[in-house]
């Protein structure tokens, strides 16, 4: 990392990070107190792009308006009526960058320079959390299922949620710790819902005094520091203020009867981590701990090895051996169409396509398990799951017209059971054209579906307005 970059990061933080965290110092519960409007946003991330013709949907040739799910979405077929496939949005904010810019713009829509530094804007979930003021215990909760091969360090590629420019939000990665800390006072699995237990041994009073002590100390120390260092201490102070608010109020809750401590298995492998994080996420919704959640699998440029599927090569490497979109064009270059390759075109890609299929069907199976859990709790219709990826074609590192999968009901606001095809670039790949909509429009739509007053999001120039097809009338 160059000095220059460090300086820029510090600068970005100086101008943005603190301001972005202030809204978390929330006031009284807002509209969320009305059960009828109880809505949950769940952002889902899986990495390394797709093979287009296997992912998404096809319009029905016989029933107007109907659609069929493509093979990678087969595990979700039971929930087809709760789904929307949105096709044709370009991630223009990623600006031609690869994995890192892809993930750091996915939920922010705020352009990056592609220089490896962190994302440049708040992500939509955080913007929604600051606005809806649901009075839940946590403004938002972030989870991440890590594989043993994942790079451990914090980096642009391992963060997708941002509280502001250059300020990534860290997800829970250890399920046991998360369960212990988030579900304090809730009944054990199989138990019945009771009032939270009072904290033991003066804990509340000690905390009150502790927060007061550290606040005073920061108040004495911070003025002695130079500007960039003040930003660091201000972030610490904001963090304590927010924690104080959470711990002292306890939040309002409209938990469903099934709310209990999550039952976990451990976190050493991706399959186990996945189910644990799904359990945590679903239970967080059931217990109404927050209205805004996310689950990130691995990281952008995921090096996960799906050895339980018989793979010996990592996901990222596999993704690059799958077909390049320009290899699939029927009449190159004018009409390249990776949506409909011929069998002959695919003949040399049998192995990587099978492996990419293994991986993504596995991911879809995990997501189906989450959907089932939420459905069993009777709260799927209150949710909007939005599933995205840092890339479109994994082989090509591009962000042409990414497909997003929405599942749930959004408390009746989301119009489901449809395949929304937006105009795509022609020739294929000319996705920066004005006629192609940027995924910022989807982010705005998510904000409005969740009841936030958001008209534009991310880079203003990339916005053309919400996607009207997604709103139930």
């Amino acid at each position: 990392m160059s000095r220059l970059r460090l300086e820029r990061r510090r600068f970005l933080r100086a101008v943005g990070a603190t301001a972005a965290t202030i809204p978390f110092l929330r006031a009284l519960p807002g509209w969320g107190a009305d059960p009828a409007s109880k809505r949950y946003l769940i952002l889902l991330f899986t990495p390394n792009g797709v093979v287009r013709h296997l992912f998404g949907a096809d319009p029905s040739t016989t029933v107007p308006g109907d659609f069929t799910l493509r093979p990678w979405l087969d595990p979700l077929k039971d929930y087809k009526q709760k789904m929307v496939i949105v096709d044709g949005l370009a991630n223009k904010a990623a600006n031609g960058g690869t994995h890192g810019p892809g993930i750091s713009t996915l939920w922010s829509g705020a352009g990056v320079a592609g220089d490896g530094s962190y994302g440049r804007g708040i992500s939509i979930d955080q913007a929604i959390a600051t606005q809806i003021n649901a009075g839940t215990k946590y403004p938002s909760l972030e989870f991440r299922a890590r594989s043993p091969q994942d790079y451990e360090n914090k980096s642009e590629e391992s963060r997708m949620i941002y509280t502001g420019p250059g300020a990534p939000k860290d997800p829970w990665e250890n399920a046991a710790t998360a369960a212990n800390q988030l579900f304090v006072g809730l009944p054990a699995a199989g138990g019945t819902m009771t009032a939270p237990k009072p904290a033991a041994n003066n804990q509340i009073e000690i905390r009150k005094r502790l927060f007061s002590h550290v606040d005073g100390e920061l108040g004495r120390l911070t003025p002695k520091m130079c500007t960039e260092d003040r930003v660091q201490l201000d972030a610490l102070r904001d963090g304590f203020h927010q924690l104080n608010a959470q711990l002292m109020t306890g939040g309002t809750s409209q938990a469903v009867a099934s709310c209990s401590q999550p039952t976990l298995m451990g976190t050493k492998t991706l399959p186990v981590a996945s189910r644990d994080m799904i359990e945590l996420l679903a239970m967080s919704v059931a217990c109404d701990l927050t209205r805004v959640l996310s689950l990130q699998y691995s990281a952008a440029r995921s090096p996960a090895v799906f050895d339980w599927l018989g793979h010996t090569t990592d996901h990222h490497s596999i993704s690059h051996t799958s077909p390049q979109p320009h290899d699939l064009g029927t009449t190159l270059p004018a009409k390249s169409d990776p949506e409909h390759p011929t069998p002959a075109q695919l003949a040399s890609y049998t192995v990587p396509i099978k492996q990419m299929t293994d991986i993504n069907v596995w991911y879809a199976t995990e997501i189906a398990a989450l959907v089932k859990r939420l459905s069993d709790f009777g709260i799927l219709d209150n949710c909007i799951i939005c599933w995205g990826n840092e890339l479109d074609n994994g082989s090509n590192h591009d962000h042409f017209d990414q497909k997003f999968v929405l599942i749930g009901g959004g408390g009746g606001k989301l119009k489901t059971n449809q395949y929304v095809q937006l105009p795509v670039a022609f020739p294929y790949g000319q996705y920066m054209e004005p006629g192609v909509r940027a995924h910022n429009d989807l982010l705005v739509t998510l904000g409005q579906l969740m009841g936030a007053k958001i008209d534009k999001f991310g880079d203003a120039a990339l916005n053309t307005g919400p996607i009207s097809q997604l709103f139930a009338t």
């Binding site: 043993p148 451990e152 710790t177 304590f240």
Partner: protein
């Protein structure tokens, strides 16, 4: 990613890079982009290097006459530092920071510099503080020496001592008063246990514990750190922990007031208490992941089990430690003793089944030579075709050389990696049956003297070549500087890097001496004065 070697006003910056790779001006004192011929370099430490060492002496005489220093960004404890500190302060060896948010890589080493805490960090700080305090109150006498939580006078003394250590050597009077006042009030209102709990927690969530607050001595420009602050830095750099009572006594007794005193103290500190730091350094420097992260394809390598991987990592750590501790051995010996062919190192730079000349070459290029490799261009396909029948991995990798866009960078990595071709993905030496191990080291892209480069066969010859190079030794000194300071080098560190280099040379390129040289240098003992409310630089 761009990394700039120390820039210095007198150094000549070439207008552009002759090579596509790195896309980076290369600092050379002679104003050329350098040649690649192998030369026999006298290993006397006087010729050459000088990238750092002789820059000032030759052309910048006088600039280093008075101390210079980089401006340290506020440093937040890393996970290992947090765990070591609570073990030292409270006897808590549960490693509560295991679940903390991982650091970013800064100049190749884990560091929390630059990124502000997230709410997740803060939640975990509170949780850890509450758990540690609860455990401590449960075994109060054993941990504090005070008879019970009601022994207020004893606790006052213990808190004062503990807070000063926890705050990296410095406990301002007003903070001491506040801690004691809050403790007394809580003990009176809520009971003795609650009072002690609050006091312990207030130390653990203090910004003066979680960050290293260094005000420096009064004055403008470059100012010396206070002796207590130097004690704090020493403990952090050499132990990744907080100072103990003898170290603070040395500070109070004026024994850290000059470079010689700091060096002497550092020498004392580098006993078995530095074992953890040496292990931490070598695993980060050689990019060895966790035991889980080192796993390979189980069906291909069923014997590469968790205990085996644990043992192999330990083996590398022991090689590094014993070499570091032997005053007669230097970095060259470390290479000749085979640090680069340690199974843990080789396995860490292999794919789950296949070897990787690229990853192995990149390790040498970036970590041993301190050259910089830019990431592949966005439109590059980083995957090579599957090896056809009769093709070796090397044959496939060799295609990098045919594609100019790939070759620009891969010429600096792959040919070095070929030298390790006899080692499979778990670091096992398969011998000559694994094919050729002819390799080549291209001359460094950024370097002072170009005393490195040429063809070689096998890792022993490679180690011999590397161990003779001043570029390599200088790189190692720079890695130590980055690790000890917990940040990337900046221009203000140049004179100190030069001082450290000279000491490193004088110390026979010994690893321990490299550390001592850094911590007794000016940039370690000074800082720029703080302009409250102004810019930090």
């Amino acid at each position: 990613m761009k990394t700039r070697r120390l820039t210095w006003v007198g150094w000549v910056l070439t207008a552009g890079c002759a090579m596509a790779c790195g896309s980076q001006p290369v600092a050379r004192r002679d104003g050329t982009t350098g040649g690649g011929d192998t030369a026999t370099i006298p290993d006397d430490g006087t010729r050459g290097t000088p990238l750092i060492a002789k820059g000032q002496a030759d052309t910048q005489a006088g600039i280093c006459a008075s101390p210079t220093a980089g401006t340290p960004p506020l440093r937040r404890l890393s996970r290992i530092e947090y765990d070591n500190s609570v073990a030292a302060l409270f006897g808590d060896t549960t490693q509560p920071a295991n679940d903390f948010v991982p650091e970013a890589k800064v100049a190749g080493f884990n560091s929390n510099v630059g990124l502000p805490v997230s709410d997740h960090d803060v939640t975990q700080y509170l949780d850890a503080a509450e758990t540690i305090a609860k455990n401590l109150v449960g075994k109060f006498q054993a941990s504090t020496g005070c008879s019970s939580t009601a022994d207020t006078a004893c606790i006052d003394g213990w808190l004062t001592k503990t807070a000063r250590r926890a705050f990296h050597g410095t406990l301002p009077d007003e903070e001491k008063t506040q801690i004691l006042d809050d403790y007394h009030a809580a003990a009176k209102d809520l009971g003795a246990d609650a009072g002690a709990t609050l006091a312990i927690e207030s130390i653990l969530v203090s910004p003066r514990f979680l960050y290293v607050v260094e005000m420096g001595q009064d004055g403008g420009g470059i100012v010396p750190l206070r002796p207590s602050e130097i004690a704090g830095r020493l403990a952090l750099s050499l132990w990744r922990s907080v100072p103990d009572a003898p170290l603070l006594a040395a500070a109070d007794g004026g024994r850290l007031d000059d470079a010689a005193g700091v060096a002497a103290q550092a020498r004392l500190m580098l006993d078995s208490r530095a074992d953890g730091v040496l292990a931490d350094f070598v695993t980060q420097w050689m990019e060895i992941p966790s035991v889980e992260g080192l796993a390979k394809d189980n069906s291909k390598f069923p014997d590469f089990t968790t205990p085996v991987r644990t043992g192999l990592i330990q083996q590398t750590v022991e090689l590094f430690r014993t070499t570091a501790r032997d005053p007669a051995k230097g970095i060259g010996d470390l290479l000749n003793l085979g640090i680069l062919t340690q199974p843990a190192v080789i396995a860490a730079h292999s794919h789950p089944v296949d070897i990787s000349p690229t990853l192995r070459g990149k390790l040498v290029r970036t970590k041993v030579i301190c050259d910089n490799i830019a990431p592949p261009p966005p439109d590059a396909n980083p995957m090579l075709p599957t090896a056809a029948a009769g093709q070796s991995t090397q044959d496939v990798i060799a295609q990098h050389a045919k594609e100019p866009k790939c070759a620009a960078c891969h010429q600096y990595m792959d040919p070095i990696g070929y030298g390790f071709n006899h080692f499979d993905a778990i670091g096992k030496d398969l011998g000559a049956s694994a094919g050729s191990e002819d390799g080549e080291v291209k001359a460094p892209m950024a370097a002072g003297v170009d005393d490195l480069g040429g063809k070689f066969t096998g890792p022993i010859a490679l180690a011999a070549m590397l161990s003779k190079s001043n570029d390599v030794k200088e790189c190692f000194q720079m890695q130590m500087l980055r690790y000890a300071l917990g940040r990337e080098e900046v221009t203000g560190d140049a004179c100190s890097a030069a001082q450290a280099w000279q000491q490193f040379v004088a110390g026979g390129y010994n690893v321990k001496e490299a550390l001592i040289a850094v911590v007794s240098s000016d940039t370690f003992r000074h800082r720029t004065s703080i302009a409250a409310g102004g810019a930090c630089q």
